[in-house]
């Protein structure tokens, strides 16, 4: 049987175990005493200790967090403006090009995005003398660009089921357009803005390929450091790091889901 029988639940269960088994095993082995990652030899938290004594890793993590916060913030502003334009301005010249430019970075292969931005930065430096060299600034620009696309999608979907008459009602009751935006529009789309920012933040924190192209000497991000460690083989402190990240992300997603659930009561339309 297909629709009511056992097939679907079993398929779903297998699928979910496929998704989670490697992560679970990684979390378990992060507490392994042995440096052989896959042979259990006893409980230990020494890899966590090693992690916090690795200045290179800590430095990279701090850099990545700064980059992620900055690029998510820039992307939030740009993506929200783009979403407002796409949802509210029904027709304008170049709309197709604009919507293409907004959504193409979503699926553009990372290697192309990375290479193209690097070549741009080099060409710009040659022509304008800016940006001087590559580092945090260029990574932030690159990340903000593709995060804008994600923020735009999230905000767009919230705005398109936004009842315009709410804004009209505020203006009708005497609020100026700017006042209306802050009193009505902003509070209602706030959950989407928060999830857009969080999405941008995690995507930036996650990116290896683009950052590798546009970073300069001395500005290695966390994924770049992890990649160089992992490429050489297994390293148990990466297990510990992964466990911490999984923990933070799980908490974050949980919090975001709760916020979403609370802000979207059963009857979304008043």
């Amino acid at each position: 049987m297909f629709s009511r029988g056992w097939f679907l639940p079993i398929a779903a269960a297998l699928g979910f175990s496929f998704l989670y088994a490697p992560i679970v095993s990684l979390v378990i082995f992060s507490f392994n005493e042995s440096s052989l990652v896959t042979v259990w030899s006893g409980f230990s938290t020494k890899w966590y200790g090693a992690l916090f004594n690795d200045p290179q890793l800590l430095g990279a993590a701090w850099l990545s967090l700064q980059i992620a916060a900055l690029s998510a913030t820039i992307a939030l502003v740009l993506g929200t403006l783009a979403a407002v334009a796409l949802v509210r301005f029904r027709r304008f010249r170049g709309r197709t090009l604009f919507s293409g430019m907004v959504s193409a970075p979503l699926v553009m292969p990372d290697v192309i995005t990375g290479l193209s931005l690097l070549l741009l930065f080099v060409a710009m430096e040659g022509l304008l003398g800016w940006p001087q060299g590559r580092g945090m600034l260029t990574i932030v620009i690159a990340h903000a660009t593709f995060c804008t696309a994600y923020v735009c999608v999230v905000v767009q979907s919230r705005l398109s089921d936004f009842d315009r008459s709410l804004e009209e009602a505020a203006m009708d009751l005497g609020a100026s357009p700017v006042r209306t935006f802050f009193d009505v529009t902003l509070p209602i789309i706030a959950p989407a803005l928060i999830s857009g920012w969080l999405l941008g933040f995690t995507l930036s924190l996650d990116d290896l390929v683009i950052a590798s192209f546009v970073s300069g000497p001395g500005s290695s991000t966390l994924p770049m450091v992890i990649f160089s460690k992992v490429r050489l083989g297994v390293s148990p402190d990466v297990n510990a790091l992964a466990t911490i990240i999984v923990g933070i992300v799980a908490l974050g997603v949980l919090a975001a889901t709760l916020i979403q659930l609370r802000s979207k009561p059963k009857k979304a339309r008043a």
């Binding site: 709410l166 009209e168 009602a169 203006m171 009708d172 009751l173 005497g174 609020a175 209602i188 008043a270």
Partner: protein
């Protein structure tokens, strides 16, 4: 000399436009979206304390007209005056006008009280005054115990009342209501209709209501403006609109009407004779009509203005009687609607009150019947 008893002064200012200043004056307003005219050259005067209904189907331009009054749309041409002030270019937030939205548009993140207080806060009234006014309004719409609730915790009817209270909070000179009862179920709608009229009379605020529901318009309105394809087809009191439609559109749009084509055979100052092949008889109209002999025109009559009989009735002018076979009967309880097929093949509808309980002698299917009407029962229409 004995004094004649004083008749009550007619309180309907639109009947005496020379001595009354209109409160809302819409002059030659046109609104185009691209190449399409949503509203075309509409002129309309509305008087203080009226409850004016704009009635029309979807796409008739009624909502666009309302949105122009609120200031959400700017007319392409023409002017809108409210209480003597030109409002054409005034943005919505500076108009002494408030609107009750079809979707109610209650702010979902604010409580009922905050919703009602929103407009008052924009006027920077002192806190105490706002609180007093909010309490007053909650009492008006009988929601005293619901002030702290959020809109999604209210029923449809309660939300409708909050929306009304919020729109009334700033004591607007003019209240615009977009399909105010559209989202309510039938029973609640009927109750709310009367409540709305009561509040309007109590406060004396001018109401302009947009609706597509003719029954609603008839119940609420002091006057109705029937809109069709961006133009006003007719303005009048509910009885005028129903009894004296000015065009085929209005006759068909409001209630149901039998409509036949005919040719003028006699055009006298006190009567007109129309020959109608469709009807299979002459129509004698007991008043003068602005027409010419041999002119082709239409004649409309409401189903309840006709009578059925088995015997041929008297016809003083050898007119106003035709005959046919009963094809269908729709029994609606209070009335029955008979569909009669005339000899020409034309079908007309005649309704009869069921004043006798379980009448065994009622006219039934396949019977040959005579249909008759009075001289002034129908309307002669030239457009």
């Amino acid at each position: 000399m004995a004094k004649k008893p004083q008749l009550a002064v007619d309180t309907r200012p639109w009947r005496d436009p020379a001595n009354n200043k209109p409160f809302v004056r819409i002059k030659n307003v046109t609104k185009k979206f691209g190449d399409v005219s949503a509203v075309h050259d509409v002129s309309l005067d509305i008087y203080r304390s009226e409850l004016f209904c704009l009635l029309g189907g979807s796409g008739s331009g009624k909502s666009t007209l309302l949105r122009m009054l609120a200031g959400f749309e700017n007319p392409t041409s023409g002017t809108i005056e409210i209480d003597g002030q030109d409002m054409t270019d005034v943005p919505p937030y500076n108009r002494p006008v408030n609107m009750m939205f079809q979707s109610y548009a209650l702010f979902p993140h604010m409580s009922v009280e905050q919703n009602i207080a929103y407009g008052l806060k924009r006027d920077h009234l002192p806190k105490g005054e706002i609180a007093a006014r909010v309490a007053e309004l909650l009492a008006l719409v009988k929601l005293q115990d619901y002030g702290k609730r959020k809109p999604h915790q209210l029923s449809g009817g309660q939300r409708q009342r909050v929306a009304l209270a919020r729109a009334l909070a700033k004591r607007p000179k003019l209240l615009l209501l977009d399909e105010p009862l559209g989202a309510l179920d039938k029973k609640l709608r009927e109750e709310t209709q009367f409540e709305l009229v009561k509040i309007q009379e109590q406060l004396g605020v001018t109401f302009i209501v947009v609706t597509h529901d003719q029954e609603e318009a008839m119940t609420l309105a002091t006057r109705i403006g029937v809109m069709n394809q961006g133009e006003i087809a007719m303005i009048g009191e509910p009885t005028d609109i129903y009894e004296f439609p000015n065009s085929r559109f209005v006759a068909n749009f409001i209630g149901s009407a039998n409509m036949v084509e005919g040719t003028v055979t006699a055009d006298e100052p006190d009567h007109v004779r129309i020959r109608s092949a469709e009807l299979g008889c002459d129509i004698y109209v007991g008043h003068g009509v602005d027409c010419a002999p041999d002119q082709i025109l239409w004649w409309a009559i409401r189903p309840e203005k006709m009578a059925l009989s088995r015997e041929k009735p008297e016809s003083p002018f050898d007119a106003n009687v035709t005959t046919g076979i009963v094809e269908e009967i729709a029994y609606l309880g209070d009335i029955s609607v008979y569909q009669v097929a005339l000899e020409s093949g034309k079908r007309i509808r005649v309704s009869q009150t069921n004043s006798v309980r379980g009448n065994p002698d009622a006219i039934t299917w396949e019977e040959k019947v005579y249909v008759t009407w009075h001289d002034n029962a129908g309307s002669v229409l030239t457009v």
